[in-house]
Subunit: 457 residues, 2 copies
């Protein structure tokens, strides 16, 4: 339970911005996930790093868990308060602090969303390319090491974050990284905190690498006779060195859902959605080279989207594939899971997964960022049907095991949270214990987002 002195101290610090209202607690007890958890005891809305540090000191002195909260879009229960405590909602720390156009970097607060950031950047000619689909916060994306459709070209949050300000478990504030493009000055703490899911500290500021808005963009959608041909085309494309900006796979079931619920009229076969960024001549060359490869792998129905509105429509369809797929089974809810494998094993991994899903009796379209070997299954289960939920979780578990068997990882971009902890020992062996040792060194009382990522202490 929540000790009164802690509540008093937090209220003195934050006033109305510390709430125990049941509606707000409920809001922060649910996320886009199949994982259930209890509510936090309170939700805080700090406005400055100093407030976060003071909050952390209060919680540390009372042994209260502290959980970071961005937009609540994570998929494995990362931001749920499994042991109660204070959820720190970064909604009010959402500023773009500074753009340094010459250095192509920006400093932001963790609560800014990627769409808001890109809207703010538009006039500068720069962009922040990491795009996980959901309009997540940059802090949340860093915490889960998110990536998405453009990672094949611009990298993941691992590559996008140049430096951090972090509030540690004891309330100290540290800075990692610098504004220089690279450094070999000691342990890469930036990389350690990116992907640490709030278990080592709370990110209160980020320095991000930006990229120039491409001079020219071209996109296309192309149909393939089968999944294997589409995936083999992806492998050949990556190997040929064409700097694809996006190369996304939709299986036939995903295409069917997009046709029905996103107003498309594509042939119901596997598709690749591709995008090219560069100079006008560069884009034309890339597109021509990809076109030749796609044709060689049996692609037909190649539709170009050179106009902005056509491209927007195409990527809107891709981003809306998730709701379209969920809508394709009335009354269903989704268990969304991702794995990532070496690209050479991608066709096998997808084929085995499709067969496993088909045998399970529940629908589960597959789509993904195949240029990275990363794919998702959207497993559709009837709401409140525990048997189907168990089936979906078992399928997700087998996907994770399969990814390991193929030399891959149990998650390419969604993270561990609560949902995938059961597979960490299988992926990492003794290295999971090393993660636990780092956690214990930085958060000896186990207050930072307890119950996530590392083995329970």
């Amino acid at each position: 339970m929540f000790p009164d002195p802690a509540l008093t101290a937090l209220r003195a610090l934050l006033g109305d911005r510390l709430t125990t209202s049941p509606a707000v607690l409920d809001q922060h007890a649910a996320s886009e996930t199949h994982v259930t958890a209890r509510s936090p005891d309170a939700v805080a809305f700090p406005e400055t790093t100093a407030e976060v540090a003071a909050l952390m000191r209060i919680c540390a002195s009372h042994g209260l868990p502290v959980i970071g909260w961005g937009a609540g879009t994570s998929l494995e229960g990362h931001a749920l308060a499994v042991r109660g405590g204070v959820t720190v909602d970064f909604t009010r720390m959402d500023r773009l602090i500074e753009v340094r156009a010459e250095d192509m970097i920006a400093r932001v607060q963790p609560g800014i969303t990627r769409e808001a950031l890109n809207a703010d950047l538009r006039a500068t000619g720069l962009m922040f390319p990491v795009d996980p689909g959901a309009n997540a916060t940059i802090g949340g994306m860093a915490a889960t090491r998110a990536s998405g459709t453009t990672a094949v070209r611009y990298g993941t949050m691992r590559d996008a974050v140049l430096g951090l300000e972090v509030v540690l478990a004891d309330g100290r504030v540290i800075r990692t990284g610098t504004a220089a493009p690279k450094s070999s000055a000691g342990y890469d703490l930036t990389a350690l905190f990116v992907g640490s899911e709030g278990t080592l500290g709370l990110i209160t500021e980020l320095t991000l690498r930006l990229h120039g808005q491409p001079e020219a963009i071209s996109a296309a959608v192309c149909a393939f006779p089968g999944m294997a041909e589409a995936v083999d085309c992806v492998i050949a494309t990556i190997q040929s060195g064409i700097p694809m900006a996006r190369i996304e796979f939709l299986d036939d079931a995903s295409v069917r859902a997009c046709n029905a619920h996103a107003g498309m009229a594509l042939p119901e076969v596997p598709h690749l959605l591709v995008e090219f960024h560069g100079s006008p001549a560069g884009v034309a060359e890339q597109a021509a080279r990809f076109g030749e490869l796609a044709e060689a792998f049996g692609s037909r129905g190649f539709q170009w989207a050179d106009r902005t509105e056509d491209r927007t429509r195409l990527w809107k369809m891709r981003h809306n594939a998730y709701p379209a797929i969920v809508a394709s089974r009335p009354g269903a809810t989704a268990v969304v899971t991702d794995v990532c494998v070496p690209i050479s094993r991608l066709a096998e991994a997808v084929a085995e997964t499709q067969a496993d899903i088909a045998a399970s009796g529940i629908p589960g379209p597959i789509l993904g960022h195949v240029g990275d070997g990363n794919f998702h299954a959207i497993l559709l289960v009837r709401r409140d049907d525990p048997d189907e939920l168990a089936t979906a979780k078992a399928l997700a578990g087998r996907m994770a095991e399969r990814a390991l068997r193929f030399g891959g990882t149990i998650t390419g971009e969604h993270g561990i949270g609560i949902g995938k902890k059961g597979h960490m020992a299988a992926e990492h062996g003794d290295a999971w214990a090393v993660m636990g040792a780092i956690k214990a060194a930085l958060d000896p009382a186990g207050l930072m987002n307890p119950g996530k990522l590392v083995e329970d202490q």
Copy 2:
């Protein structure tokens, strides 16, 4: 001193491959550095990970320090045995274990050099692009988070290493990363060990990202009226998004040395050396766009090197700039130091450094990987002149402080070792203590390369 039972156990493990011969100890007590240190007590030449793990367990049980050794080319005394112990020389673990061409990855042992690796890769059409100049080992390059001339395009060792096998301080063997291109499964231990300078464990295997050998390459050298114009041209080039493969700066003193000692006949003004990789059309476009920019910034004497032999000559000159500069002052030895700053501050940082060096009375040509904001001073001091050595160290110290003042880092690619430890608190503040806490968690007895990177325990 070296306890007899430890020596007996290590000899039983390694036979002749454990030596205490003075000549071998001396060899491992010196490196390309101005830092002096004592000899190790023994040098081991293991051939397998199991031997490294067994060695580590023996040393741990006797409280003996263990220091990794690659090619001895590090510049800040990283591989010196400041407290004695056993230096582990990876010369006999130098195999390319596996190339997975479809996945564009290779597994290697730590003792393979980058030149040997690229020779082995030649027929595959793939390459390992990280190029720090010296023919360092891949294990050593990972340990120091090396980069070099191609980092502007292909990244540093941070980007190049996909996974590791590491022997920990207690002899456990862990694996970090997978063969998948990305992962969000837990703390990024790969990034933590890359750049940890052997203070957290010994790297016994690496999985590396490879790149396709470029279809077309073009290079050029161009003269600028002054340093500021050359640097401003670099800034404009990076911002314009031209995917430079290399963009290197030589100041007038560096050019003078190359003319005298590397058989060149360049005008003795600041120069940029550039290289473009891509398709033939892509390279032609990049080169044309760079040419326009260079001209706008007053470049003259543009010399193209499209033929392989001309390119080889150009980059040989760049790689031999170091010995050429050392030779430019008879009887001198060099204190080589590097810093890295945000590119917007590069011209100021170089100008201040040049002025500081000019006022010091010792020669110090400047050159560097300016596309990354990274530059080096090669401070030439008379051998055995303690005053000049002190002057050079003071200059290097002021360079580090200047880099911090400009928002940069005390080292872009050389690392900390012994030489730069004194600046770690200034760069990292409390984050240096976090590094110490991680070190203490993973190596509580302080046996892994003691005296380096973290604060003395």
